[in-house]
Symmetry: C2
Subunit: 606 residues, 2 copies
């Protein structure tokens, strides 16, 4: 059946393309800052083709429309785009051209490729520009054609900003700014453009609410040796924020003025920026400016990235407290699930709601750090499974429920996964569960020398599974923000890196997830995730030894542990961990039933 709605929209888009002299128009998924979640305002690709997955790029010409997405979404995209006339390009499948290849093969001399330069990363933009210049194709990147076609488009997110106190942050904006300027001096630059939202929030000690689950405001910052400009939407600036900015000599500029501002800049030296998270339009403006001054546009990792990743003492103290309180709630939730399954109506969705509401009771709760993943039995084997109110499996007294969840509080951002036994499970599941737990505990127990990266230690998490002939197709660990995004760099724990990818050294004060898993399609999915902090161990003539310390204290389900699949020292690690869980969590539990269940659930096993 024909999808006349989409076809109509595409026709309008084509008319606008013609008006603007654009032959091909490209619409990717990102917002202006390459955030993890894009607000509805940015869902242009979905508007013009119907496909709403988290990754996809639509390309439209006079007589062609194609949408590129990855293997997770082939079926969904086919369904959602049925009758639209939009062709599906299955990324990475043999013989399927990339967008760049497609355009290079089809665009002719003199033609124009258009896209909104704010939603395309600098590296993709540069690569397209280079490739297509061979065809003498030019780019038009200053037009957001959706603006003129999409009449009922949602507004750009615009919510009040708020201030975190210096006491909560452990370091004032001015101190942080001084550290950034030191780095700028070291790099020999006179100014620095910062486009990464969580970096700007960390640096200013401000927060916002413009990206789902990320407490960030849409913003840019431009830093010189004596001035600090913050670009935000005027309506987001409350009286308190305004006063704070005045006090801290933060010069406020309108969010939409950035390009004009860059065009009018007077440079006194080189500019630093981070290509990985600056959009193409901004890059182009910076480059033009730098060239006109014969200055260098220096591509460096934002200095804020590593400063933000290494938590200070105040942050760590608060994080430890918040993780403990969050763990208590999770423990109570696990009890609730086990005690109620099979007795009350329970779906993946209602269970998630229950946990979310429990978290919301905690003091300082701001929001969830990501949408809670609640997946029952085989659903847990699907990497991007999302239960919704209308589409959620019933949780019965059989098998397991995987729950991956977290909250952002005044005092920290949490992330934790437990896979909860709700009924009978097979010996195979016990084997996989035991291997997963062993891996999590082994990694958390690692000793490593300063200079090690996540790649050096990753194998501790995978070893028990690899020895079973099982692997999990995701990283073992990621960094986590402080009252900020649940995923942040630069550190992570993986065994493979893309060629040329930088690996960050693990530094004391970093916090990182430790989350091995087993996923057997059509059968079951297991993931156990603790968050750990990097701590100093011995320092001697050999150097600085480091290790991890648990931040998460929630019971591991002993019903799924079979010690015959566990090395003696992993059994010891589990018993030691469970003793800590009981000692730390039980004082916060009022209900004697839960407390005595916890005692049993954290008993030493032999």
């Amino acid at each position: 059946m024909e999808n006349t709605v989409i076809k109509g929209r595409l026709e309008k888009l084509r008319a606008k393309m013609l008006e603007n002299g654009i032959d091909y128009y490209m619409m990717p998924t990102s917002d202006f800052h390459n955030s993890e979640y894009s607000a509805d305002f940015f869902k242009v690709r979905e508007y013009f083709c119907g496909f709403d997955g988290s990754n996809g790029t639509l390309v439209v010409s006079k007589d062609f429309a194609g949408m590129w997405t990855d293997g997770r979404y082939f079926i969904q995209a086919e369904n959602q785009m049925a009758g639209t006339g939009v062709e599906l390009f299955k990324m990475m499948n043999p013989g399927v051209p990339t967008i760049e290849e497609y355009l290079a093969a089809n665009m002719k001399e003199g033609q124009v490729l258009g896209f909104d330069g704010r939603v395309v990363s600098c590296s993709i933009g540069e690569s397209l520009e280079k490739k297509l210049s061979k065809n003498k194709v030019t780019l038009k990147i200053d037009k957001d054609l959706a603006e003129e076609v999409w009449t009922d488009r949602p507004d750009l997110p615009c919510h009040d900003m708020y201030i975190l106190s210096d006491e909560l942050c452990g370091k004032s904006f001015k101190e942080k700014l001084s550290d950034v300027r030191k780095k700028m001096e070291e790099e020999g630059v006179k100014s620095h453009l910062l486009s990464k939202l969580d970096d700007i929030m960390w640096l200013t000690n401000l927060r916002g609410n413009d990206v789902e689950c990320n407490p960030v405001a849409l913003s840019y910052a431009y830093i010189t040796m004596d001035e600090f400009y913050l670009f935000v939407q005027e309506k987001e600036v409350t009286q308190e924020v305004k006063a704070y900015c005045e006090k801290n000599e933060i010069i406020l500029k309108d969010y939409h003025e950035l390009t004009t501002f860059i065009d009018g800049l007077e440079l006194s030296g080189d500019i630093m920026y981070d290509k990985r998270n600056t959009n193409f339009l901004t890059c182009k403006a910076l480059l033009k400016k730098a060239e006109s001054y014969k200055a260098e546009l220096k591509n460096c990792n934002n200095p804020t990235e590593i400063m933000k990743a290494v938590k200070n003492e105040t942050e760590l103290k608060n994080i430890r407290e918040v993780y403990l309180r969050d763990s208590v709630k999770l423990t109570e939730f696990i009890y609730w699930v086990k005690n109620n399954v099979g007795k009350i109506p329970m779906t993946e969705y209602t269970a998630a709601m229950k946990l979310d509401s429990m978290r919301a009771e905690l003091p300082g709760f701001i929001e969830l750090s990501f949408p809670t993943i609640s997946a029952y039995n085989a659903n847990a084997a699907m990497a991007h499974y999302e239960a919704t109110k209308d589409n959620a499996a019933e949780v019965k007294a059989q098998g397991m429920l995987l729950v991956d969840s977290g909250g952002t509080y005044m005092g920290g951002t949490t992330d934790v996964t437990r896979t909860i036994v709700v009924g009978e499970i097979s010996d195979e599941i016990k084997k996989h569960y035991t291997g997963t737990v062993s891996g999590m505990l082994q990694l958390a127990n690692a000793t490593f020398m300063h200079g090690s990266t996540g790649r050096n230690v990753d194998i501790f998490a995978r070893q028990p599974l690899w020895e079973m002939g099982i692997d999990y197709n995701h990283g073992t660990g990621h960094g986590i923000g402080y009252v900020l995004n649940v995923h942040e760099g630069p550190q992570n724990i993986r065994w493979r890196f893309a060629k040329g990818a930088e690996e960050a050294v693990l530094e004391p004060g970093m916090i990182v997830s430790d989350e091995p898993g087993v996923y057997i399609e059509g059968s079951h999915g297991i993931r156990i995730e603790n968050i750990v902090e990097v701590v100093e161990k011995e320092n001697n003539s050999f150097g600085q030894f480091l290790g991890f310390r648990h931040l998460t204290y929630a019971p591991i389900d002993l019903e799924a542990i079979d010690t015959k699949y566990m090395k003696p020292e992993c059994i010891k690690l589990l018993n030691d961990y469970h003793k800590m869980v009981y000692d730390k969590v039980s004082p916060f539990i009022q209900d004697e039933n839960i407390k005595s269940w916890l005692k049993e659930a954290t008993r030493a096993i032999g």
Copy 2:
């Protein structure tokens, strides 16, 4: 006291420099191929300053002479250069300029830096050229001034080449050449210059004897799609080798003709070379030729490198056999040491001689694969300790003797280290020894997915030591040649890599050393080294799992093992290994005393 000999030599050198219009003359350590050992012919730096360490570069001008070396050699260099007027530059010490920095600071516009372009690597040469071009300094690289000053200079090594049969190699030269040409096609080049001696030997199935302990002939090879040129010294070509070359259409050219040959080349396309092991003079000649044809000089890893590293079935079969026979000899040697220490005169040197002579008895013995390291007690803690006939410690019935040794045989090249208890040892030593053994066994027991590199698994070897707050300052493992060099790439096992360094994926059929250690200055040194081969394990929907299999079977000294420092599964690994050692080695041992000792030495411990 003045060293008039060196001073006289330097005066003669300076006269030659003046004659040739050279203001600064640089003399590094390498031969023309960056081999691990340089023959006496190449010891120009030693001739002109007296310092004979394995790393050092001498720079001489009209009124200056400076020698750069690293921390291992500061004391030795000071002693050996006393009275020569040559200034010592302690590399990596704070405030000490590099050679490049020194030259950039001191050379003036229009001056000339000279060196023999054949003993300087392409990357160092290019870097100097770039840096000094800012001073308008030019390079003169076609003069080996030592030739004219050093009258009693030893000859360039020149020994008969010999042929390995196709049966021994498992693959004929023609088959290997066809594989190389396939790679050349893939890279889109029409010719390939090969400068790496062991690669040339591997490819041609020829061997030589021009580098200490490396069965290689000084040579270059130039490969086109239909011709194969081999540059060797004419005198090395025996009648057999000549006939072999004729039969295989190998066109023989004189070793010294390479540059002239390149100058006269007619190119039909791009040239491939490997910058890492092509000398600067050759690079320059290639570059000039490529430019004149507007061809590209394509820098790639020699395709032979990975082909040589992944052993074929014939090679593996022979290697396993040779390692077993070599292990038997080492086992008998260990018995000899333990049984004779304190009873007969024994020094580090005489013990090494004993082992060397035992190896020489084995069928197919060619030479040692490197000079045997025999180091008693505290001497074993010194990284580059070398006992000589005149300077060797007496081995008494106290402490330990570390022996790192190997041989090259028709059928394989071996490398093995054992640290032998010869008397009382402290509890601390037992702890360190037990940790070292645990590390070696854990790594050998690793399961890993295809795609892993040495960095992914290195931590298994270091973990027991890192947990004790101890590290060893060397790599854990290196590749080993087949009837070739004892050190070869591209794979290795390390935890740290230089920025941008390539890491090779571990492939089935590679062989690699596994050699953790503990070195306590002034006290003791322990290293335990087995060689292992990479083998396939399970292959399933998750991918290809790999592991290691031991090639070395010699007892680990139980007198130095204390199970209180050992995890239960490491005890099991040790017992399993010792059972294999006894089962494999004992059938080859005639002497019943040794056999019953071995039974006891490989007993299961609890």
